[in-house]
């Protein structure tokens, strides 16, 4: 029996292994729909999904929109530039107005950590965190876990190296929580200035050089430098960063012979990852994108009424 005892998906921090596996298993099933001649099922007919994206995003917004449409839900997209927040309306007021139109799910992308949590306390619709500042991005972590499981057959016991701008990365945080819950050994690596304090308390091994983190890793996850999230430079320049922390074929050779290379996008080619690695046989970056749609279908299905324990009369 699928059960998902949560009304909202705000992060992976509080999800149990059972919750995570429920989403991953469902995601595997929904992935099959993309291969059908008619890539659509009627499951969420009559449900409304609002994508409230108040921070730039192409991949995640498109992915949620396609996911909603493949389930026959009506998807409405509101982006920062076109919304009334530009006219001075607060997030809560915008959301309460949207809520008054009775959507079933609101997906929120916001530059402020905790925005999705705030919203979930103020509106009736289920809230999915589509990324809140440097806090969490749960569907990205779920699709990453789905990709890892598909390529490696398991997650427990794998060594996963997350490299780059850890400090500003919600992807890193959500992945650390999810991967640790599922029993992976997580390593993080980056320049000291991009490693937040207290990381080791999350049960991860912290490295300030990339090479030891890569050694024997089964999964290498590269992160973009999120310059938009910090003012003063935290490292001398991108050329130097690339030289010391960029993933190239020589460094990748340190990882396990069958290691996979992942990146949540957007990629800065030649900065955190060499083009040869992106195009190489180990990269599963586009597979991550494909699985993103299936995972978001699973999340929408569970939150729009498909899975909760309230499902039993």
């Amino acid at each position: 029996m699928n059960s998902f005892p949560h009304k909202h998906l705000l992060g992976t921090e509080r999800l149990s292994a059972r919750d995570l596996n429920t989403v991953l298993d469902l995601g595997d099933r929904f992935g099959e729909i993309a291969k059908r001649p008619i890539k659509k099922v009627p499951t969420l007919r009559g449900k409304t999904v609002v994508n409230l994206f108040l921070e730039a995003s192409t991949r995640t917004r498109t992915s949620f929109e396609i996911a909603a449409k493949r389930l026959s839900a009506d998807a409405i997209n509101i982006s920062g530039a076109s919304s009334s927040t530009m006219k001075g309306e607060t997030l809560v007021d915008t959301a309460r107005n949207i809520d008054a139109m009775s959507p079933d799910v609101v997906v929120l992308r916001h530059a402020q950590a905790g925005a999705a949590h705030l919203l979930s306390q103020r509106i009736r619709a289920a809230v999915v965190n589509g990324g809140d500042g440097a806090h969490e991005h749960p569907t990205q972590a779920l699709l990453d876990c789905s990709t890892i499981r598909a390529h490696k057959g398991r997650i427990a016991g794998l060594v996963v190296a997350i490299c780059g701008d850890i400090a500003h990365s919600r992807v890193a945080r959500s992945n650390i929580f999810a991967l640790a819950t599922l029993g992976a050994k997580v390593r993080v690596a980056g320049p000291r200035t991009l490693l937040p304090v207290g990381l080791s308390e999350l049960g991860v091994a912290v490295y300030d050089r990339i090479e030891p983190a890569l050694e024997g890793a089964d999964v290498v996850m590269m992160l973009r430098i999120q310059k938009e999230r910090f003012g003063a430079p935290l490292f001398p320049n991108t050329r130097e960063y690339s030289r010391y922390f960029g993933l190239n074929e020589r460094r990748l050779a340190l990882a396990a012979p069958d290691a996979i290379v992942m990146h949540p996008g957007p990629i800065n080619r030649g900065v955190e990852i060499d083009p040869a690695v992106i195009e190489g046989p180990r990269a599963v970056i586009l597979d991550q994108v494909a699985r993103g749609v299936a995972i978001r279908m699973a999340v929408l299905y569970l939150l729009a009424g498909g899975g909760g324990e309230s499902g039993v009369e």
Partner: protein
């Protein structure tokens, strides 16, 4: 998956056996002959599509029985999962697992026979027909069920029936299959009052 999960076994009393394993084997053999008589001629093989999970096991059995006939083309075998097409998907019933839909060949211009274990309200079959419509356009769609227990809620009738049983609303029919680790038999059960 049937549209309603079987209720917890503890609530149900077995009233009587409708068919034992011999009776079930006979019913399936007779269905095979009828199927071949009505559809098996010509070069175009039958496409058996089982409705998960019980119907998928029965479709596989019918395919084996057809293969044993020797002089006819072997049937194509597929399966559909109707969970995402149910009309009661959010109506407060526990969620069953979603199984894969597996149609190895195109169903376009094929003679498709949907196979299910028990035909009751007809809602499962309506959902299965919706699934097929998303995959293509068979030249003809027919319906084979091992048990027809009546009490339809939709205008759907089977073309091939193993056994017909008149039932009441409080009764339920359970098809037990060796594929599920049980002994082949069909029983009529009633909710404990």
């Amino acid at each position: 998956m049937s549209p309603r999960l079987p209720p917890p076994d503890a609530d149900l009393l077995e009233r009587r056996e409708i068919l034992d394993s011999n009776g079930m084997a006979r019913a399936l053999r007779r269905m095979t002959y009828e199927l071949l008589e009505r559809t098996g001629h010509g070069d175009d093989p039958i496409y058996l599509v089982g409705v998960r999970t019980g119907g998928a096991y029965l479709a596989a059995r019918l395919a084996r029985l057809i293969a044993e006939q020797g002089d006819v083309a072997p049937a194509t075998l597929g399966a559909v999962d109707i969970t995402l097409y149910r009309d009661d998907v959010f109506h407060g019933l526990p969620k069953p697992e979603i199984g894969p839909t597996d149609l190895p060949e195109s169903i376009d211009r094929r003679k498709v026979v949907l196979v299910d274990d028990v035909l009751f309200t007809g809602r499962t079959i309506r959902a299965a027909m919706d699934v097929l419509a998303d995959y293509g356009r068979p030249s003809v769609e027919m319906l084979a069920v091992l048990v027809d227990r009546g009490r339809r809620e939709l205008p759907i009738q089977p073309d091939f029936v193993g056994v017909f049983v008149q039932t009441t609303q409080t009764e339920s029919v359970r098809v037990m299959l060796t594929e599920r680790g049980e002994t082949d038999r069909i029983v009529l059960r009633e909710r404990r009052t």
